[in-house]
């Protein structure tokens, strides 16, 4: 445990590296917590599959971006240590065993509890094609012949045929092959791990085939025991691989997968057309430097050596997988029909507490600010806000920032409708939203075609803020309606991510929202802001000020307290300010889902700070910041985490909630999160996360409570609406 180095004369150096956790290692801790859900027996089986799949895709992204970035730094000779005092090499060295351990744990989870449990519950996953029954084998061979074979492109490598380019994250099967003898004798089908002495003596060639992404990875096959049986596509191909290399003998065949550096390197200053440049870079992403090689455990050594040489990976970057490669297929398994009893019941988002969906949305916003809590409450009001604006003849303009949208976004449809009906529509569509670039390019082009003014993002900055402005001409003049959110304008993820939104027609926020879009359109900043706080120019200073103000209160002997909820905390300046605040006596409760570089429990440094992480059925995503401020409490919502990227390299918006009723509601929400003892894990002094003790207390699952609360609110509201439905008879004038 780190201890504060304080002497009587010297102040504490809150920047000392030992007070910080490396962000990548903290990231892996988060993935471990997600994996913990996959290992939790109290969770329905199929939900556990989903969590395991999430850990796999998370880890893929971690390699493609974070590990890749560290490797880039190392290659560039960058040796500056991070806040925890680790230089890139040291970080890579620390990460390698941690990632290997994590992957081992993933497969231990898959192979041991999950696979047998699936079988017990009627879903048999045939792990190897050798285990197929004759009927199943026949089915599989026919499936190969009819469906798979036509889309395969086998490739052999020799002096005249160069090693093929391997697509990032694509699943492939590598084989060692050798030419059949001239007399045409065939030694019969050779399965993996089987070799003949004769074959070993012949010259060996490398061959491979990509497992086609266009076909489903999970193939349902006839069942032997009345339940459902499935096999993975790569097993079907492996079984039939000799049909791809007709004049060759296949010595062995094993699946493998490469992961490449997927960080886009765009010189935005030089790029004349950002859209074209990103399209070009996306193609390149498929061919970035290989940073990880997954191979089936027990892969033939000769084959492995050939592969290693061709893709140039170090031994530490090779992962020997004890099971099927790329566990993201489990998400597809989760979606298989017929296993509903092994999943949570579908959550139906409830009508919002603060509005009546049957009434005109603009009228309701005029009555007062509306807080929305997703996914407990439906995202429909947000869609309806844009849709109503598109249809309303008094609406002059709609302006919106978009970061990640759903595949068939109703919001985009509404924006297109608005533009086509002659309204002025401005959309900042962030093309650089990682891994959504392609989707965003398609939508941006569609919007442009419809006549929207599309801004593809800002040079050097990602626009991560979530804001919509509707300008409406009303009887008493122009009125601006604004939606501000903590999450994306994505109706699909709004059912899975916990986020907050505020609908308002406050003049002060309306003015600020206008100024935001002016800035995003390249115009100058305003002299001052009324309510909104923007990154990268003002937000960090504002947070430091707010934290510092609590510190001052504490130093003056007044009660001081901060509760902050976010996805990640790794900004050194903010952490330093929090340490100072803790040192002064500020009580700080942090609810951080993911990365946390702050350490708790260091005497004199962070002994007033607690950190908890909630990993539940919904992805915790909202950012809420509460400051006691001597009783004049202030609460903010926003799109930014306390990370350098959010505070320095992104356009983010944080906004205050000022209506007392809504403040109380948000405080209640935070208190539930702090009470959670089911899905929460508490950061310990040693850097581990531990579930809080329930001794003397009942189980409290904050997400579940929010679901129940939303249902109760909706019912209560429906009752009150019904009770006010009194018919009022029209009286005769005489009466």
């Amino acid at each position: 445990m780190a201890k504060a180095k304080k002497t009587d004369n010297r102040p504490i150096d809150f920047s000392a590296p030992e007070y910080y956790t490396n962000r990548e290692l903290s990231w892996l801790k988060f993935d471990e917590r997600v994996l913990g859900e996959a290992r939790d027996k109290n969770i329905p089986l199929f939900e556990r599959l989903k969590f395991l799949s999430i850990t796999a895709s998370n880890l893929d992204e971690f390699f493609m971006v974070r590990v890749a970035s560290l490797k880039d730094m190392e290659n560039a000779g960058y040796v500056k240590p991070d806040i925890a005092g680790l230089n890139p090499r040291a970080q890579l060295e620390a990460l390698s065993p941690a990632t290997h351990d994590l992957i081992d744990l993933q497969y231990a989870t898959y192979n041991r509890p999950l696979l047998p449990l699936l079988k017990e519950n009627g879903l048999t996953v045939v792990e190897s094609h050798e285990d197929l029954s004759p009927d199943q084998a026949e089915f599989v061979d026919r499936y190969f012949q009819d469906t798979v074979y036509p889309v395969l492109t086998p490739m052999a490598v020799d002096s005249s045929r160069p090693f093929p380019l391997l697509r990032n994250k694509s699943l492939n099967i590598a084989a060692l092959i050798t030419e059949k003898s001239k007399d045409g004798t065939v030694s019969g089908r050779l399965l993996k791990k089987k070799k003949t002495k004769k074959a070993a003596r012949l010259p060996l060639e490398f061959a491979m085939v990509q497992v086609p992404g266009v076909l489903p990875r999970i193939v349902r096959i006839p069942s032997e025991n009345g339940g459902v049986s499935v096999i993975l596509l790569e097993e079907i191909i492996e079984r039939n691989i000799d049909k791809l290399f007709l004049n060759y003998e296949v010595i062995c065949a094993h699946p493998f997968r490469v992961m490449r550096n997927a960080d886009l390197t765009i010189d935005e200053e030089e790029a004349e057309d950002l859209l074209k440049e990103i399209e070009k870079q996306l193609k390149r992403r498929q061919w970035g430097q290989v940073i990880r090689l997954d191979v089936e455990a027990g892969m033939d050594k000769r084959l492995l050596n050939m592969l290693k040489e061709q893709v140039s990976v170090a031994e530490e970057d090779i992962y020997y997988i004890e099971g099927p490669l790329d566990l993201t297929f489990l998400m597809k398994m989760y979606s298989m029909e017929g296993f509903d009893e092994l999943k949570y019941k579908d959550h139906v988002p409830q009508p919002p507490k603060y509005m009546d969906m049957s009434k005109d949305i603009f009228e309701q916003i005029r009555h007062g600010d509306i807080l929305l809590k997703h996914p407990y409450e439906t995202f429909e009001p947000v869609v309806n806000f844009v849709r109503s604006a598109a249809r309303d003849e008094n609406v002059l303009a709609i302006k919106q920032t978009l970061y990640r949208v759903s595949g068939n976004s109703p919001i985009i449809a509404a924006l297109i409708q608005a533009a086509e009906s002659g309204k002025s529509v401005t959309v900042l569509f962030e093309l650089k939203a990682r891994f959504d670039e392609e989707n965003n390019i398609i939508w941006a082009k569609e919007l442009e075609k419809a006549g929207c003014h599309v801004i593809y993002g800002l040079v050097g900055l990602k626009t991560h803020s979530k804001i919509t402005l509707v300008v409406r001409r009303e009887e008493d003049g122009i009125r601006r309606y604004v939606h501000l959110g903590t999450g994306n304008y994505n109706d699909k993820t709004a059912r899975q991510y916990t986020d907050m939104g505020l609908l308002t027609c406050s003049e002060a926020i309306g003015e600020d929202a206008t100024a935001v879009f002016n800035m995003l359109s390249g115009y100058s900043e305003p002299v001052s802001w009324n309510k909104l706080v923007l990154a990268p120019l003002w937000l960090k200073d504002r947070f430091l000020y707010l934290i510092g103000r609590e510190t001052e209160h504490a130093r003056a002997g007044r009660e001081a307290r901060i509760i902050a909820k976010m996805n990640s905390l790794c900004d050194p300046d903010i952490i330093r300010a929090l340490y100072e605040a803790s040192n002064a006596g500020v009580k700080i409760e942090l609810i951080i889902r993911g990365i946390c570089c702050l350490k708790t429990g260091i005497p004199g440094v962070s002994d007033n700070i607690t950190v908890r992480s909630i990993v539940g059925n919904f992805l915790e995503h909202s950012r809420i910041f509460w400051f006691l401020n001597e009783g004049n409490e202030e609460i903010y919502l926003g799109s930014a985490d306390w990370m350098p990227r959010n505070l320095e390299r992104r356009v983010e918006i944080v906004f205050p909630v000022e209506k007392p009723e809504l403040i109380e509601d948000l405080k209640h929400y935070l208190s539930m999160q702090l009470k959670d003892n089911v899905k929460a894990s508490v950061l310990q002094k040693d850097g581990t996360y531990v579930k809080p003790s329930r001794r003397g207390r009942g189980a409290f699952n904050s997400q579940e409570e929010c679901v129940q609360e939303a249902v109760r609110n909706a019912k209560e509201k429906a009752r009150s609406v019904n009770s006010t439905r009194i018919f009022i008879p029209e009286r005769s004038p005489k009466e």
């Binding site: 003049g477 122009i478 206008t514 002016n518 359109s521 390249g522």
Partner: protein
Amino acid sequence: MKIFAAIDVGSYEVGMKIFQLSKKYGLKELDYIRHRVDLGSDSYRTGRISYDHMEELCSVLNGFNDIMSSYGVDDYRACGTSAIREAESTDIVLDQIRLRTGLDVRALSNSEQRFLDYKSVALQDVEKFENIIKDGTLFIDIGGGSTQVSLFQEGSLITTVNLPLGILRIRSQLSELEPRRSQYSELLSEIIDNELYSFKKLYLNNSDIKNMVVVDDYLPYVKQRLTDNGVLSSEMVTTRQYLDFCERIKQQSVEEVAKAVGIPQENANLLRPSAALIRNFINITGAQMLWITGATLSDGIAYDYAERTHIIKSAHDFDSDIIASAENIAARYRITDAREEALLQVSMVVFDSMKKFHGLSKRDRLLLELAARLRDVGRFVSLSVPAESSYSIIMGTEIIGLSHMERAMVASAAINSFSRDVYYRDFENEEFDKITSLRVVKITAILRLAAALAQNPGKRFKKVTASIRDNELDLTIGSKAGIVLESGDFAQYSQFFEEVYGIRPVIRHREVSAV
């Protein structure tokens, strides 16, 4: 309710404000959009606006068009200031803008521009403004090419002067000198002081200046920062607070100033000359309070539009400022005698009696009044060529609130009122269109008639009346002394009047005893 856009094509920035104008609520600012386009650096240095800046300007203006349509703007006014005005090819630039953006930009004269700035401040908070100018006040309007300084005393405008101290000019002067960081502040001060020396000598002797009202694009950021940091608790900044700020940034680099004030570096580069300019004004005046207004030309354009379209009625009497300014010019040239009074008296009475016949406006009445007040200022310079001298003085003196054209009209009326022989075709001025020429002729005809009667510096008219009857202007002069001399000239001068209006003036005298 009307949605109105006011566009300001400035020397270093193009700005647009969107307003909601209504009789009930007055002016409400909806949006303020600005973009840096450094037109001044071209225009002041080469007299031209470069291709790149023209491209950038048109692109920004097209963006403004989009924003205007997003508000359903009903009307707009776009004005260019010194960078456009001083370009050799102003007309070509404006034509290009029109062709490429569809926007009609009008180049404002310096006095028009300053008047609109002044209007924007005075109307922002009329009560406050009028309270401030009760004490000696300097109104300092900092521009890219020059700075306009107006002096108020006891609620009246005393004088207004244009100083060649624009922030772009100062910046370029400094950059030519390539000062070291340690020299920068001193050099900046020296450049400013050189210009302020004469100003002080001429206008500030014995003036007790308590307040300064500042119009500038970047100083409002300073005020905001002082407010954010808890230094300021009211709208007004004490000069002590301001000087403390100047002291802090004195030795700072542009980067440090930008960070301290929270503005982009490019703006910090322009803030420093502005800040120094105000500091030096404080030093020469000893002013105690500073009102950094935050008002912009766009505000002035909108107020002006709202007034002209009768959406608002100005609570401040700007005409009286213009008149006060003319009075002060006249006083400076020592022509405040009975003759000037008589000239003014007759001119106004004749104008008012002919409302139904002359077809002139209230504004023309003001121009006539100015012409009457300033007609004789040339006598101070030369008794042999007073007309030409008056013309030169009027054209060379800023009268805040008058456009360049209006000033030329006043000067033309003044010069042509001296001689009975100048026929109206001789009034032709390349700056005047036909309608303007006709207005000048009509104003001159009245002024010339009045001048025929107001010849004696010692003769006061007690009462002057006029009425129209049977195509005759019956003008009765009530005075103690007779008007024999005047009557003789009157017949000769009245021909021109008769020709212009088709009305014959007839003069009568009524003896009035001294009271």
